[in-house]
Point group: C2
Chain length 505, copies 2
Amino acid sequence: MSENNKTTFGDMPADEFRRHGYAMVDRIAEYFEHLEEYPVLSQIEPGWLTENLPASPPEEGEDFASSLADVDKLILPAVTHWNHPNFHGLFSTSTSSVGIFGEMLSAAFDMKAMLWRTSPASTELEDVTLDWLRQMLGLPDQFEGIIYDTASVSTMHAIAAARERAGLQIRELGTSGRGDLPLLRVYTSEHVHSSIDKSCITLGLGLQGLRKIGCNDRFEMIPELLADAIEEDIEAGYIPICVIPTIGTTSSSSVDPVDAIANICEKYGIWLHVDAAYAGPAALLPEKRHLFTSRELKEDPHSAIRDPQFTGWERADSIVLNPHKWLFTPFDLSVLYCRDLSELKGAFSLVAEYLKTNDEPAVKNGMDYGIQLGRRFRALKLWFVIRYFGVRGLTERIREHCRLAELFASWVDASDDFEMMAPVPFALVCFRAKPAGMSGAELDALNERIMNAINASGEAYLSHTRLNGKYTLRLSVGSIRVEQRHLEKVWRLLNEHLAAELEHS
Amino acid sequence: MSENNKTTFGDMPADEFRRHGYAMVDRIAEYFEHLEEYPVLSQIEPGWLTENLPASPPEEGEDFASSLADVDKLILPAVTHWNHPNFHGLFSTSTSSVGIFGEMLSAAFDMKAMLWRTSPASTELEDVTLDWLRQMLGLPDQFEGIIYDTASVSTMHAIAAARERAGLQIRELGTSGRGDLPLLRVYTSEHVHSSIDKSCITLGLGLQGLRKIGCNDRFEMIPELLADAIEEDIEAGYIPICVIPTIGTTSSSSVDPVDAIANICEKYGIWLHVDAAYAGPAALLPEKRHLFTSRELKEDPHSAIRDPQFTGWERADSIVLNPHKWLFTPFDLSVLYCRDLSELKGAFSLVAEYLKTNDEPAVKNGMDYGIQLGRRFRALKLWFVIRYFGVRGLTERIREHCRLAELFASWVDASDDFEMMAPVPFALVCFRAKPAGMSGAELDALNERIMNAINASGEAYLSHTRLNGKYTLRLSVGSIRVEQRHLEKVWRLLNEHLAAELEHS
């Protein structure tokens, strides 16, 4: 019988917790020390883990050591290592050690931050930490934040608040069965994240309720097309409720002209929600601030964005950004900043009898600001991260990522066999192999083969997109462990795989 | 300068991680050892933590030890201790040590389980662990699960799938601006969790789209009233899309007659979603199984539910239950079981170019089943929990909680000064002080004063609800640390505070 089947019903005894806890810490430390020895992309075949696990749960409890042994034997081979410094796919993200400490402690407290009184620590630390972050980003002090799990959920809440502002009593009456209710529309660019489509599906706006606006050759939304679309929709009797420009689109990290879009939103009284889920933390860098705000205009000759007036996120009604993407905070922690948080509360607040308290009305209850009632104590890990690295440490790390991405782009630019496919405003490089004498279709196939070969090798992980119809490789630089040698390795792999391809053809 | 401001840009060095990691483990072990010395309810005044934290973030990084010291000095006094064995409010929940280990490792991997290939471990372990849990609960094998953060989000997804099944192309067309689209309706009892109201708000159904059905004197939905409501709505031209009975309502843990409700859903072709968020894990107990399923009918003379035909969750289209509530798994982990998961996928799947892969179509990609793109590796902690305690260890702990609740109820029953307010099918006791000679309003005020006094003392934490209009105290038994002596303490406190009240009056 294992040690946990004692006559008492409680939890693991404290001495056992210490022993296994130290082992977990050691295991994680070793994992980080040997991270580069693992293939970035898991090499298992689909179904391998399932086949190697028992089909039924154990009747009797087991010593935790056996679970930890199975982590090595079964789980690790099935892990695609997001923390590997050569994970450059999607957006490269990584946790930091203090972030892990935050998750440990948050799990130990295990609080559900619904009411202030059930979680004063979480409620107040969230406010304070998000205000710190607001200052770091250079946002005006009327912006107040709330933490959700993901940007998808943050954005869904922003659109819901926008929908409520339209004054159509949608919270009470809904949108179905109202013959007189016109079509509600959300506007965004054709390069946005799929979460906006999913938000519109969820909220009952439907994909029809989302109109995608065309972009220029730098993949930035064209404000004139947005204005035309809104005019057209208003004439058709539709109601525009929200416009969502992106600072750092998922495909190419392009920056929509927020300032020009804000002018349009102001004119028509439409909610402006800025999606800076990925790029938001780059606002810490003074030299990148002009990509976000029109207040601190700076002429930067190295900027990929040619017109600094093309920004102005401080004019938004809401902004989403994800510390779990590019601020070394473990997944999940997404922040929604609102100019007036009471609008969000108005859309969602609903207090059941069993949640009523005598607390003064001034107390903030997290549950009032969204669909989730219970909320994890997520602020703790962000607080740890900001304190451990300091504003300077965070800024320098993000700056180094931008430097590495620009360096990689310079190698692409200098090569006859590769070409850049988009500007590099942050730390994402969009490029492709382009040896002489190949058709467009041949280039698409070639680049796909090169990427798949590199990914399959486990040496590095890249992802792709399509820009102007062309198959494009994406290299994201964002791991806390990434160094110049990792970029050099990718560049070497790309050239080797291209050479091998050209030899075989 | 602190140790982290090295010339390298990376993370905390491994030796430092080990040192602080051990300290974190020790701190958490100590926390659990001394848990009972803390007041259950935080004793701080609103704003105390905010005032004691710096208004701005540190420019330079700090040693992690200073953050850990501030946890003791500033965070702990602001914590309401959900893990305290005398936390009996709302639903008493608690983490277990192995659950904390799961969160540590999940944070270290920091994977975003969107695609199978970016997270084979999470994708497959989730399937396997949820199938283990399905077997433990006695659900038929066609049920397949998916993990979300909270029951609110699980239920929102279930209603969205139900909305899609109605065949009205809502995913594409939405519900606004469609003059011919009738009002869509969801049905539930008047005792449900507020998350269902919020789901309806979010989905654009509005509060008008939710019809609440009356209950009998045991707080169970009356199927005849449901049938009448549906008939009435159909006659009015509305479209019923979903019925949500609850097994273990939030107010009183009452059990709606799922079998009779399933008959009605079958007749009208309506999606049946069962909310077993709280009580679900009690299905592990053979002696409680009759509260869930009509397949294993058992006549249990001790059961609070008089008619065992009043169940049948295996007939549902979807079921939500929360291992983070009553299965010793750290918050958050909510499971949605669907009879046909492809219906959920049909409502949400949407694949952007940058997420397309060459993986065979048979591979499951978590992102296809909901609004969130990235998903935490939550299955790990549940896998640890099931393995460490075993089915038997989990069953015995839940059984002990039910025994303690029944014991407490027997004390109430035997007392002249208190009375029971609802049956105790699981481990929630609804009761009130009822000394002789007081009016209804006086009893309400008395019970509120007693609860507030106990909560303010920090000795124990209770919450309340209203049943049949009467102020009712709720005592939930669910902590992994709870023992009989904790219930005896609450009973003593209640009697002492009642005596003090009667003395003063």
